[in-house]
Amino acid sequence: MRVAVIAGSLKAGMRIAREIENIAGVDIFVVVCNVRMKSLLQRWSREFLSALTSPSCWTLATKGCSYAQQGKLIILSGPLDDATSIQRLRSLQCDVGLHAANVIYREPTISAFRVGILNAHIGILPRYRGRCVVEWSVLQRDPTGVTVFFIDPGIDTGNRIVLREVIPSNGWKRVEALKNMLFECDARLYRKALEALMQPGVQFEANDISKGRRYYVMSKVFKQIVNEILTERANLA
């Protein structure tokens, strides 16, 4: 299976690549996008600083070089949905893409992958679509967790769910810390999802959007309430 990590930075891409590179039968590429269309200097100084502050700075550098030497590190200079970028993605002939960049995917980008692009959404689908779903789940006393599904151009409406894992919010007092923990589950869950996809006769669960709602960015007053709920729960435990 040929897999491309679509990342917003080299660091983010390599973190996921390292988790999945040992899966037998998986051939990995790391595609680094120019998310905010920064200049070359801005972009690489940001990458450099980010690598320097990373505890695994040396590993990142050596891994990055190794991927580059094998032609498995692709740096896109234009937008992801630009014709040149899509052509480059197509040329990789990948089966699956792994979302790790802050971008919106349009149909031509998605269809550059034979099976599709996986997203590790930090919410339980189909119930929680959209933004601030961790906050909304806590506020509405629902389970928190991550759902790995194949995206479509809509907002968390892709119909094929590969796996879903409930990850309790117990013990977390601040929602930002809880969200960071959930975001960092992506590599592990992508690994699980790829392993599931490689099983014969893999079946997907339908993401029935009629069973959920779309959520939006949350107000300050509600975010404060969410933090109070988390703190109170942690203190009760």
Binding site: R141, Y216, M218, S219, V221, Q224, I229, E232
Partner: protein, 229 residues
């Protein structure tokens, strides 16, 4: 189930509800003190006969009415105009309404979104002449679309402090607020929270439509005082 688990879960639920209620009442207290920044004297006075009532309503502690009864009807007709009806709901007054077993045909959102702003406003004011109808289950798609527009495109404009369609944004905020009063959907309440927190310079532009601004603030005040979310 272990006794500890059996006892702790309801306790957690109660505590969540308590925290939410506490947070909303804190915001209500803040609104009671700060609404004049959004609606200074000249803006309030332009409301004419309603000025005193709005002032008293926003300054009260117990400004609330339970509108959830509306959800049980198929449709509600009324003789009053949209503005009068909305004003009455905002000030928690009685409104004259006649339940009907049939409502209008569904609104095509694709066609609706292609219309000019004044036409969309006209359609919404006509369809929701009795604004309680926006809270009915049949109006879910329209309500979701209005919420989406507010929280995606309109919100961005106000955050960036660029020009926006004041009348349309206020109309949507009022309708979304009425829906929250009937359905107790926290997302709809949070749209009002979010807009209340937007830069004051953007909100100050809303003074060009004092009646819609006043009804929005009064509906918001009712929502913050509402129990059972």
């Amino acid at each position: 189930m272990a006794l500890g688990t059996a006892l702790s879960r309801p306790a957690q639920l109660d505590s969540c509800e308590g925290v939410l209620r506490g947070g909303l009442l804190r915001r209500r207290a803040e609104l009671r003190k700060s609404w004049r920044h959004l609606m200074p004297s000249d803006c309030l006075e332009s409301l004419g006969v309603f000025a005193k009532e709005v002032e008293s309503f926003l300054s009260r502690v117990d400004a609330f009415r339970d509108w959830r009864f509306a959800a049980a009807f198929t449709w509600l007709n009324c003789n009053a105009s949209f503005m009068d009806c909305l004003g009455a709901i905002a000030l928690a007054r009685d409104i004259e309404h006649r339940p009907s077993n049939t409502g209008p045909a569904g609104l095509s959102l694709v066609s609706f979104n292609k219309l000019a702003s004044n036409q969309r406003s006209e359609i919404l004011c006509d369809r929701y002449r009795c604004p309680l109808n926006i809270g009915l289950p049949s109006e879910s798609d329209v309500a979701e679309e209005l919420l989406r527009q507010l929280m995606v495109t309109d919100r961005t404009k106000l955050e960036e402090e660029v020009e926006f369609d004041v009348d349309m944004v206020l109309l949507k905020l009022n309708l979304v607020g009425v829906r929250a009063m009937i359905t107790r959907d926290l997302r709809f309440l949070d749209a009002l929270n979010y807009f209340y927190e937007l830069p004051r310079r953007s909100l100050a532009r809303m003074r060009t439509n004092p009646r819609f601004l006043a009804s929005w603030l009064c509906i918001y005040a009712q929502l913050l005082g509402a129990p059972e979310w």
